[in-house]
Subunit: 433 residues, 4 copies
């Protein structure tokens, strides 16, 4: 997909030919990438839902399309008629104010519409969207452009979910089939050592306040007082985490929060998700199939509970999201993203300062996902996008090897429940000086 176009600021531009062209190109690039993700799949792979958190790939392909139809075409395209009225129910994810929806845990029970039909649905909506973007009158442009950009970011989020859901669906299979066998190999690098970087703290500002696109949950920009802290120069690696596993970390309640310990016991956790003890040692299931555990790779598929327990065992803690943000924004947003086509963490190369903070793995923070001071959700149904999830979840930062490079920012807040492990989530240590 296009990596250079700064389409996320198209919404601020007047609807001159250039802005229209940028957004149409971005629309095509993002939409096309969703289909490219699914191309290695068998038809059968599009249907299953291995746990309630996962959605069938064909559902993702349809839902992101429903998003454009519902929030752009229906209100803003004259004469638009829905492709199939029943899709309003089938592909609404959770927008209570839009109408009823098929229950999430039962998405994998629906064989219809077929993948072919969903691709027709996509083509139909794509034609209507590109026509709208090309012809929208100037007065309607700001709203159309904003909602289109929102829809593209939304689709990028689902692209990452597509990959983690495909991985989970195939990963629970006793044969653990590979999703692809042509992934880019990890680079040969001198792996980074683990250092502490000191930060003086003080009165800082975090959150989004500029002109480009951001989700409502990143706003408003606001002041936060930070005590001095230290942060690790790179993410925790598989080798480091293995030491915790082999020290009996999963059998010792001292390291675990009370709610975490219930999960460890009731679900029999003994190591991160997608790890297996093979006859010749530890193995990791990746989108490229099963591989021996690589000690220098950032550890992934940790829940917050596991990240928190590891940090306690290591005599450290997780960074808050404010600490993370003031550190990360000093570094260029370069890293192992989905465009690099590893689809798996790779060793962080040695170097000075903070490294591997972009891409690789979403880094769990110590911060619950709550509204920023003065937060206002988007108006109308789009206010349900982020705001209603601001309870019981924890913030992750920085994107992963499954995230689009154009998707994340230093202010970007991702969030999952403390027990969620099927995402590309890892960790970086922090500490008090």
């Amino acid at each position: 997909m296009s990596r250079e176009g700064d389409w996320t600021t198209a919404l601020a531009a007047p609807p001159a030919g250039e802005a229209r062209g940028t957004l149409i190109a971005a629309y095509r690039a993002v939409r096309g990438f969703s289909e490219r993700i699914c191309r290695p799949l068998e038809i059968e792979d599009h249907v299953v839902q291995s746990i309630p958190e996962v959605s069938p790939p064909k559902w993702h392909l349809a839902h992101v399309t429903w998003f454009f139809e519902t929030f752009v075409l229906a209100p803003l395209a004259p004469d638009h008629r829905p492709f199939r009225p029943a899709y309003a129910q089938l592909f609404n994810s959770y927008y209570e104010t839009v109408g009823s929806f098929w229950p999430r845990p039962r998405r994998g029970l629906l064989s219809r519409p077929t993948v072919a039909e969903i691709l027709r649905y996509r083509a139909h909506v794509d034609a209507a969207m590109t026509a709208l973007l090309a012809q929208a009158p100037a007065a309607a442009w700001p709203e159309i452009a904003f909602r289109t950009v929102l829809g593209l970011h939304h689709e990028q989020q689902h692209q990452e979910l597509l990959l983690t859901d495909i991985k989970h669906n195939l990963g629970i299979h006793p044969l653990r089939p590979a999703y692809r066998d042509d992934l880019a190999p990890p680079p040969a690098v001198a792996p980074a050592s683990m250092d502490w970087i000191d930060h003086p703290g003080g009165l800082v500002e975090i959150g989004h306040g500029g002109a480009g696109f951001a989700y409502d949950n990143e706003t408003p920009r606001h002041r936060v007082w930070l005590a001095p802290f230290r942060i690790a120069s790179r993410p925790v690696t598989c080798g480091e985490y293995l030491a915790f596993v082999e020290d009996g970390g999963y059998r010792d309640p001292r390291w675990w929060l009370a709610d975490a310990w219930v999960r460890v016991r009731d679900e029999g956790w003994r190591h991160p998700l997608h790890w297996h003890r093979g006859p010749e040692g530890w193995e990791v299931y990746t989108l490229g199939g099963v591989r021996p555990l690589a000690a220098d790779e950032p550890v992934a598929h940790l829940s917050f509970y596991e990240a928190d327990a590891y940090a306690r065992w290591a005599g450290a803690r997780l960074p808050t999201e404010a600490e993370w943000e003031v550190v990360a924004r000093e570094t260029a947003p370069e890293g192992n993203f989905v465009e690099d086509d590893h689809l798996h963490p790779v060793p962080v190369a040695e170097g000075a300062g903070v490294r591997g903070i972009w891409g690789q793995v979403w880094e769990w923070t110590a911060s619950p996902y709550r509204p920023y001071p003065g937060f206002r959700p988007l108006a109308g149904s789009l206010g349900e996008y982020n705001a209603k999830f601001m309870a019981n979840q924890m913030v992750c930062r920085g994107g992963s090897c499954l995230t689009s490079r154009t998707h994340v920012r230093a202010t970007y807040r991702n969030f999952f429940y403390g027990h969620d492990r099927w995402q590309m989530t890892g960790m970086r240590l922090a500490a008090d000086p």
Copy 2:
């Protein structure tokens, strides 16, 4: 499929050319029918499992093949090697003594092997089976023939399950898509009136004792004392059952067994499965799509609990399996079977005596599924086929519009839990004189 060939007695014959040819022809016919059932399906339809009782169609296609591989080829075909060793776990249904198996409620979580791969598996096993049947030495023939015939009956059972499972999978879909739109239309007949047929009872023999094939659970033939009884001339119709529904039958605990009433309340039963109250009246979902309720059709998709409640409301009862058997064996085994391609009950035509007792709907009896006096299960793992289910289930008799005509007998015992409703199960009344 072939309707005439009496392949079920092939096992008794010497392995002359004719017996071999009959069995090979039967093998091809039965195996081919499974694939014909799945032909109208989309690939996606092969994958889903709407409730734990249902299996994905592709699982059925593979499991019946695994049965031949495990119980015929593996022990009896020299040099047989399994198509894929992992299938031993994936497609073992419940044979504890054969090895571990993937849990039944999670069959719908596996996208692999694909439908195409399973068809290759079928072709591989079919080639090995036909070669074995053509070349088996005389000494091995009786065991090979018996196990092959058992495997074909087993596959016929799964053909009926394929159809009821497909119906359930599509029937829970909010759009209720049709499985086929070219089903044979119901015949134009004068619908049968409901009469009572008297039977004197006495000391009778039931169960299988002859030469042809029967499952172990139909044996041994044994004596039973029957008091005089009456039995209805035809099954209960939708129109009759509707009167129960409209009389508030589902809201009145007087008609229901205690365990049944718990289901009615907890699962919100208000009418048979696959009935819906449409804007213009009652509708029934069929394999041909949604149709208005037809009053003269035998009612289907009743649980035992509903059949028992209706009978109580009607001042009658269900027949025991012995009563059913002594009545049914006096009538020719003709009726609405799967070969008639209605795939739905049709009105029973007026006439003398007992009618509609074969095909149409499996008729719930008042009899728990328990071993006959002197019962011995088959030796070895095949003893798990029937015997271990002899608790907590009720016997159904007579076959249905989804059963192969060559599959049932007067002594045939089908069985389901009292709450099961997704099968083509209906009822016939009985009474004390």
Copy 3:
């Protein structure tokens, strides 16, 4: 309690002074025994409900009283007013046609009314009942007498439940406190050897047909054909059952019905309920506290599933209820009953013929609990007493060491689910000749 009075036939007698006196005496004896059972309890012991099947002892004391109030006093005693109207809901067990009731699994959540209040309730109803029995006019007597006798049998059933429920409540306690420490010690006897007794079978009659009291589920008397069979001379002992346990019986699916095996695995069964492996060997929790396992005692607290599995392992089977009945009615109904105050099975003494078939342990039969041919439940709400439970349960016969001697008959049918283990249930083997 009175052991001699044949009050169960009082209902047939005219309301002469003698019949009235017999029934009043029986009423007092039975009612008094319930309170005597609870006397060793602490107040706290009256409140708890360790599993949904168990009821708090104070609930039993109140419910049996509600039964007399609802089914005798309310309809038949002029001017009767309920002690507390709210008790109609609190102490109705399951009579849907009488009114709503507090859910069974939540009986242990109610601290009120207190034990003292319930004893006042009992005294109030006892005064009204004895007045009614003394003064009822002749025309009303048959109905009053019948319902009173029914209420006494009902209370006797709950006396056994009181003891098994107390045992379960105390038995799950980590300290396993004794209910009483003054139980009658087991007699010193030469333990019976295990012999097979042959029975010729044939056309027999079973069920209740005489003049005395019987529950509706024992009627009508009817003919059954029996094949020749053998039955064990005494119940299976703890020592015999231990051999099954130590042979790995609970780890081998071959012996178990499919539904049973699910229980064994999901609930971790490894031995009968109330057995424990102590530091010095196997122990059994009894109402008198923990004791070493006594090899010669009949084994108790087996589910049907365990009895069925043991029989299969032993190369035998369970008797049908008809087989049991024709054997048992040839022996005098003497045995180890609640009046003997062992409250635990004791070794069966050596001797000729069938022994230990009365009292000791309820013997699981191979027969599902279903209506006899021609069965009619009692009219009105009392029809809910037995009939609605005629599905999914298995018949037990013969009474136990917790049953009143005046309570059982050769035709008596007790019934529990196949997985129920908290009752005083054991087994006797049968076989085909």
Copy 4:
């Protein structure tokens, strides 16, 4: 109980006679109050556990005693022997590092030890504790005093739980019996109007930093930046909350967090816990029995989810815990506490400034319960007291009408899950200026 004694600072004092005397007096007062709370109960009321969150009153009485035995006597009293070794398992609440414990949801299944036995246990420990406090050598005093004070605060927490648990146990009873009928009546006051109080925000310090007792979770004192905010002059009243109920607030997903809406639907919430719609209007169940809803009382028994939804409906929000703390510490800690013996919120009297912020109801804040920057839990097993619960819960502040006046502070952090409703929890609005 003693209201004046400043025993919470006894730990800082040298073990002079005065400090010893103060602490012994405090010990006796606090311990005595637990027993006084239980005095109106029937024995039966001590046993039940209506939901897993609730503990039986007798368990509370024993557990707080176990706390002194385990954390003071066992390590610090020479020659101490446990009253009953089995209590270590029965009355350990959740201290994994101390040993195994009986599962919390099953506390209501244990009838033993009896209430009388637990009172003997209390007397035994009280004798040992007062002897230790009187005789401890100076070197051991700081640790003994600290742990004793901690134990007293712990017991005060359980005193509030005793009252809320008793209320829940009695409140689910269909008869809703009163706990006491002699509660202090609400004062006759002019009810406070609702005003907004402005606060300028800025860089503030919160958390405990002084000499007196505080839990570890209140430390360390640290800086927080606050934006300017407004806070309501008094808690939300029943009358105000009723307007939300009657506006359909419980049926409109717009007001609810996603996790909250699942609770509303799945548990059928329609109003706060302990409210009922009676024939003559809204009623509230109180510890004094059922009363008509009083419009001017602070609303209680709200979950965080309900408080958050109400605030959104009202166009406001909840205060953060830092906002709450900087406001509350400016007001004297006077209010409706347990010593006032209303045991229910009473109308807040009109007046200037912030009112009703102490006592009355615990006020939900917008803040997740997480460690303060630089937090260190207590060493050893006592570190499990607070720290392991720092996930998925929300902070409440200010104490309630069931809290001891000597128990709370401006820095005090209470915490419950977002769905918890059985505590005396209410709310106060905040807003951005």
